[in-house]
Amino acid sequence: MEIISDMLAIVQGKNGSIKPTHLMYKANLSHSQMKLYLEELMIRNMIKKEEIKTGSMIAITKNGRDFLLKYNQMREFEKTFGL
């Protein structure tokens, strides 16, 4: 879950869309790992692939933003109570 939230945070941090290779580099994942997580995120409708002239981009969806918001709050909550 931490990896998923980090990937979403990275995409959101890049104004909502990022190149797959950049995401792989920034999230420090191998190609196979990233493929696996991207599939998971797309199944959950948290990210979508967008085609542009220079290739494809990974974009965060509303679902993804909502999840990230909830996840950040949850982490803060857990940390506060030392759980």
Binding site: M1, S5, F77, K79, T80, F81
Partner: protein
């Protein structure tokens, strides 16, 4: 002759308002805990919500018991103002004792759950022993009102000590706020011990209000934090320009 409520006449109603406020704050914690439990399915978060929920129920029990007592309707018709003004009652309905018993019992149980949560070692024996003392304290407080407040004070002091240790480890500002809120709630219990003096009853309620207000401020802080834009999340895997600093190997 036993005292039912210690509320001074001039404070009637104000104490209920403070209790309503605390129920709202506690219910927000319950809702948040349940919401976050649904995200990560951690049992500790769920039990934390149950802990706050028990205290909220306890406050609700006292509100529902005080309302007919203060405003002279329902079961209070026979007893009326006399209870409040003279603090005396010869034959008091089971309703009042049940209401106040649940208030004491659920409060102590809720505080204990919150205190116990961050610990790893647990045994059924521990729980049984605590349950026994919680019930004994709640029952005895019918005759000696301050037993309940002393027990709550004791649990809250242990909770503050626990969060002081957690703060020492995580140096997290929110934990410090939480520690402060529990310290103030402990202080309010100390004031409640002496609350047969009219003014101290009001002071205890005011301190309790401050404690719950700090908890509300903490909720707002947690809620706002989630909205902050964190370009790289909490990640330790981020391999940006200063990868060397951020990676943990």
């Amino acid at each position: 002759m036993v005292k039912i409520v210690l509320t001074p006449e001039w404070f009637i109603g104000k104490d209920i308002m403070i209790e309503v406020f605390s129920v709202i704050v506690l219910m927000i914690f319950v809702i948040l805990a349940y919401k976050y439990y649904k995200v990560n399915h951690k049992r500790k978060i769920f039990y934390l919500g149950v802990g706050f929920g028990l205290i909220a129920l306890a406050q609700l029990a006292t509100i529902l018991t005080k309302l007919p007592l203060y405003y002279d309707f329902g079961p209070a018709n026979q007893v009326g103002e006399a209870i409040v003004t003279s603090n005396l009652a010869s034959s008091v309905d089971f309703f009042y004792y049940a209401g106040f018993f649940f208030h004491r019992f659920l409060t102590l149980l809720g505080f204990y759950m919150i205190y116990r949560l961050p610990r790893d070692r647990k045994s059924i024996g521990d729980y049984m022993a605590v349950l026994y003392f919680v019930i004994i304290s709640s029952l005895l407080s019918k005759e000696i009102f301050y037993i309940f407040h002393l027990t709550a004070l004791f649990i809250l002091i242990l909770t503050v000590e626990k969060y002081a240790w957690i703060y020492k480890e995580n140096r997290f500002f929110n934990t410090k706020i939480l520690m402060l809120a529990f310290s103030i709630l402990a202080l309010s219990q100390l004031a409640f011990v002496l609350s047969d003096i009219d003014i101290l009853f009001a002071v205890a309620n005011a301190i309790e209000l401050i404690g719950y207000s700090i908890l509300l401020a903490l909720i707002i802080r947690i809620w706002k934090y989630g909205k902050k834009k964190k370009p790289y999340g909490d990640n330790i895997r981020y391999a940006g320009n200063s990868a060397g600093k951020k990676r943990k190997h």
